[in-house]
Subunit: 336 residues, 2 copies
Amino acid sequence: MLDERKLAVLRAVVEDYVSTNEPVGSKALAERHNLGVSPATVRNDMAVLEEQGYITQPHTSAGRVPTDKGYRLFVDRLSQIKPLSGAERRAIETFLAGAVDLDDVVTRTVRLLAQLTRQVAVVQYPSLIRSTVRHVELVPLAERRIMLVLITNTGRVEQRVVDLPDVVEDDRIAHLRAVLNACLDGCRLNRVPETVADLHDRLPEEDRPVATTILSVLLETLVDRHDEKIVFAGAANLAGDFSVGLREVLEALEEQVVLMRLLGEASDSAALTVRIGSENPYSGLHGTSIVAAGYGSGDNELARLGVLGPTRMDYPVTMGAVRAVARYVGQILAGS
Amino acid sequence: MLDERKLAVLRAVVEDYVSTNEPVGSKALAERHNLGVSPATVRNDMAVLEEQGYITQPHTSAGRVPTDKGYRLFVDRLSQIKPLSGAERRAIETFLAGAVDLDDVVTRTVRLLAQLTRQVAVVQYPSLIRSTVRHVELVPLAERRIMLVLITNTGRVEQRVVDLPDVVEDDRIAHLRAVLNACLDGCRLNRVPETVADLHDRLPEEDRPVATTILSVLLETLVDRHDEKIVFAGAANLAGDFSVGLREVLEALEEQVVLMRLLGEASDSAALTVRIGSENPYSGLHGTSIVAAGYGSGDNELARLGVLGPTRMDYPVTMGAVRAVARYVGQILAGS
DNA sequence: CTTGGCACTCGGGAACACAGAGTGCCAGAC
DNA sequence: GTCTGGCACTCTGTGTTCCCGAGTGCCAAG
């Protein structure tokens, strides 16, 4: 259906268009990619590619531009992910290694990725759901007020102030803390509700009202954070490119929900996901592509990160950067 | 020097230009603002205003546009801050009241402000320096590893993992915690270094290495966070307006340091600060203005917030919104 | 000091022509 | 059958010219 040479032509069209941002014509193409055939031949191939929907011309008698379908074929079969240079790797490593806490890791990651790809980077905070409880702390603040602190194995910390129904002495709090930790330590967050379900009945009568209050806040914390936090950086990189609807893109970026969907559900393993133009789920973002990957410590995916840029992006390089950053941030999280 | 009518003309020029975004001519102005004089008179006044540098014409024989100096005079003497409507106030109140923790307060605030003003909103996290220690918590994580959690009276929580030089039993940790809290409770963060200075010597010999480690991490935490965190929202509101250098503005927004300087140093009390065009300290932001205010619980200013928009903005409305939001967020923080 | 009149200026849009890049197709060569 | 060179055709983008209208500055009179 598409012979070797036609594929080569498609590859050349994509590469040239990406680098020049102008429709590419048969002549220039034949010259620059020494395909060993004449422009006329290239024209014929192009006609076929256009008929099949891989490329298109903005207007009659202009050069050709890849369609989303064309980019898709390019990404799937014609390109090879380009690994980063050694210098870049080392730079990433040292930059990420300097992070002092989870917030810092995420902030550094998103900036790094934006700078590396010269596009908009998006990073999701490690999911609470997949992580486990490392510690629960109850800190008395006042007579009838405590702070509940939940620390997860990914270094994330959630805290809430809880107003208690009764005055509770410190040693009762200490006891409750001990019980909670004994019960929850190492427990995966999505199993917490089941785990604490019967806890209530196992407590002495007088602790129950307090325990109920605390537990309900704890559960609420988990539910609230189910919609995960996402940050982005590098919006300035959009400014150069007028081909995308700037306003729509910026709006999408500020909608956590949209961003979530863009990064996509956890895919199998840590494979790269590429969403090209109209493939992605938000109408304001046709004209843009997303390259995303999962990251995590070890083999369980904690969350996702990626970049968003014009459909006309350098996929091999971008994919290389995203993959590399995802790996490194995984390592960092595992180590801390 | 400038009589009543000339000031009225300047006011009219600013108002018309802000609402139409087009240079305003003498005729249209005389009509729309029923000044009771003819266009020719207005022209004479305009000539004077131009000579004094309050307005300018983009090219010979076009209407007039306010200069930065013109806006400055307008803001200082010709305009009155426009209070929000009752409905808006109630909306703010209920929206902010729904916040569950400090992060949430800040996020909601910045979004609210962006939506209210239809511009880019910027909010600085409450300063650690001005707040006081509410509680220090040491949570054993492993044999030689603990987590240090610092809770401030503004609801902010900082945490760090500390690797200890020795194995330390839990009751020694508990003792250290008690000592630390006794010593630091209610202490202002900027006084913490002095306060803990002699602590080391008051401890039993065997605790000293551990205490030293913990204290150094604690102090480091305070220093690290001296450059405060700042968030922004509403970048999409910039997209409509091509008069500003979009790229420069977006770049500035992603530079914490620049943002800090934009919001300005704490001014006297909670007064509004307005920086117009070239008045502000970053060259990429000529063409934009900043309206900022401090906010805090009670009378001490904890941090600042504001909006950034084109010089050509509706100052009275924007200032009203910023002032109102600053007040409400102050209340919320005081109450929690 | 204000006003109406008048000549002048300049930006922006419409109409137009033109060069250049690129295409499609066809007939001939390999 | 596939490739190639040639040729006529079709666009877009750019530069030019022209003209309209909004707006100005100045002046002389009220």
